[in-house]
């Protein structure tokens, strides 16, 4: 589609939507682009909200994907504070919350995911925060500071990043986790153990295997978290990070196949309607390297799918299959994760966790399925290559850090 009369409408101005708009122009698309966002500001990076930005090491300008002038300059009609309310697939129009309606030739859904709320008593008290948007992060930053008491509900990556940033700002931090270990759903046990010890060394307290039953408050503000065992954890603020749910309701109402995410093909195109694409956190997509479909919440995934959809729209060849990856920064630790540990039957640790420089390989037979690398870029980079190539590895060599990753993969 390179017709100047064409119109691509992008619903959702997050990392995926904003990137798709910019890529369309990079790829020479000359038609109209309308980018709809329900937040008041132009697309920005979310990862720093729990890390560099929260610690005051990055400003709003550096968060923005593009300077605001970019959109007008690139002839992208960016509309903040508006959401899409309905899609009429037969008429190829999308209705907006401001009462207007837009006709599209291609529609890209990039509506993202929302934080799952804890449905417990006191959940609406002031000071109970979630972290998805810049506005959420502003609210959180305002409550952190020296001596402030922060309770983090959920020992996942968001929770741990907020805990690390909170400590950097001098707050007292306690992390409350339902499972018996941190990162229970997303990381290997040795990594959970490592992170817990590292955070404890930096003064974070953990309550594992505990269930939050409610929040206590005074004058409308939270003062404590109530646990199932009867204890109350005193706090000035709470951050809840217990997962996210895809914003798929718009697609579902329009009759698009959804499975906790809009089901798409290798071009990020809806399997129900060839004129509609879904990208980023809201998409349930095929991942050929694992021969299965799933939904991811990561920036690399958002970028990759923006690339897939815009290549399809502009008639470019489909991008080669990728190895999914993600990263996290906590204190002086750089965690880089390549792949997902699907069907893994063995864990191999390369290096020594005591030195905060090691990698955990998840193997299926002698194939690498996933790598979790702490301050270990070679293991991460070569791991990505091995995951994609499906080349068997020599486990004895892999376990020996004195043999370089290049030699291991040779």
């Amino acid at each position: 589609m390179s017709d100047v009369a064409a119109h691509v409408v992008i619903v959702g101005a997050g990392h995926a939507g904003g990137t798709a708009a910019a890529m369309l122009r990079q790829f020479g698309y000359a038609g109209a682009i309308t980018l709809i966002g329900d937040e008041p500001i132009a697309p920005y990076q979310r990862p720093p909200l729990s890390k560099a930005w929260l610690k005051g090491e990055a400003d709003a300008d550096s968060l923005a994907l593009k300077p605001i002038e970019f959109y007008a300059g690139a002839n992208i009609d960016f509309r903040p504070n508006v959401s899409a309310t309905a899609i009429d697939r037969a008429a190829k129009t999308v209705a907006l919350s401001d009462g207007s309606s837009l006709a599209y030739d291609a529609l890209i859904l990039a509506t993202g995911a929302r934080a799952i709320a804890l449905p417990v008593e006191g959940k609406d008290l002031g000071g109970i925060l979630y972290l998805r948007t810049a506005a959420h992060a502003e609210a959180l930053k305002a409550t952190l500071g020296k001596g402030r008491k922060l309770a983090v509900v959920g020992g996942g990556y968001i929770g741990l990043e907020v805990a690390a940033s909170g400590r950097a700002l001098g707050a007292e931090v306690v992390v409350l986790e339902r499972e018996a270990r941190l990162l229970a759903r997303v990381a290997a046990e040795p990594l959970s153990t490592f992170f817990q010890a590292y955070h404890e060394k930096h003064g974070v307290r953990f309550e594992l295997g505990c269930s939050v039953t409610g929040f206590q408050g005074k004058d409308g503000r939270v003062t404590g978290v109530t646990l199932a065992d009867g204890r109350t954890i005193a706090c000035d603020a709470v951050v809840v990070g217990v997962g996210a749910h895809p914003n798929e309701e718009l697609a579902k109402a329009a009759g698009l196949e959804c499975a906790r995410g809009v089901v798409v093909d290798l071009d990020a195109r809806s399997v129900t309607d060839p004129n509609i694409f879904a990208i980023g956190d809201v998409a349930h997509r095929p991942m050929p390297v694992y021969d299965r479909m799933f939904r991811m919440e990561s920036v690399p995934n958002a970028l990759e799918q923006a690339r897939q959809a815009t290549c399809a729209i502009t008639g470019r060849p489909r991008p080669p299959g990728e190895c999914p990856w993600q990263w996290s920064d906590q204190y002086d630790l750089k965690l880089q994760i390549a792949g997902y540990a699907f069907d893994a039957d063995e864990i191999l640790i390369r290096g020594n966790p005591q030195t905060a420089k090691f990698a955990i390989f998840h193997l299926k037979g002698d194939l690498v399925q996933s790598v979790e690398a702490i301050n270990a870029p070679p293991e991460f980079m070569m791991g990505k290559t091995l995951i994609l190539s499906r080349k068997p590895v020599n486990k004895a060599k892999l376990a020996d850090p004195s043999i370089s990753m290049k030699e291991v993969a040779a």
Partner: protein, 106 residues
């Protein structure tokens, strides 16, 4: 502010005024210059902002950090003048800097 010339692998040149304090990567990405992907947004986690720094600028752009060195070691087409653009901070001293891009960042 420094005027930086970004040259794509196909020879296309982009001359951009980049604000002091931004990185050479941010200068490219914020101006939608193709060829620098910067998937991680500058966290030195992905090696997709690989550039070649013209030799006469190598001294002024500084040296690679250990993390950068380690990431670059696994990028495609690495040369002695390879850098990760996210790790080069723009200062007035970089007025006139020229960087070229590799064929692919992946």
């Amino acid at each position: 502010m420094a005027k930086i010339t970004y040259i794509q692998h196909d020879g296309t040149e982009h001359v951009i005024d980049v604000k002091t304090g931004l990185s050479v990567m941010e200068g490219a990405v914020k101006n939608n210059i193709p060829g620098i992907d910067a998937d991680c947004g500058g966290a030195c986690a992905c090696a997709t902002c690989h550039v070649y720094v013209k030799d006469e600028w190598l001294e002024k752009t500084g040296t690679r950090s250990a993390m950068e060195e380690s990431m670059l070691d696994f990028a495609e087409g690495v040369e002695a003048n390879s850098r990760l653009a996210c790790q080069i901070k723009v200062t007035d001293a970089l007025e006139g800097l020229v960087v070229t891009m590799p064929e692919s960042q992946h």
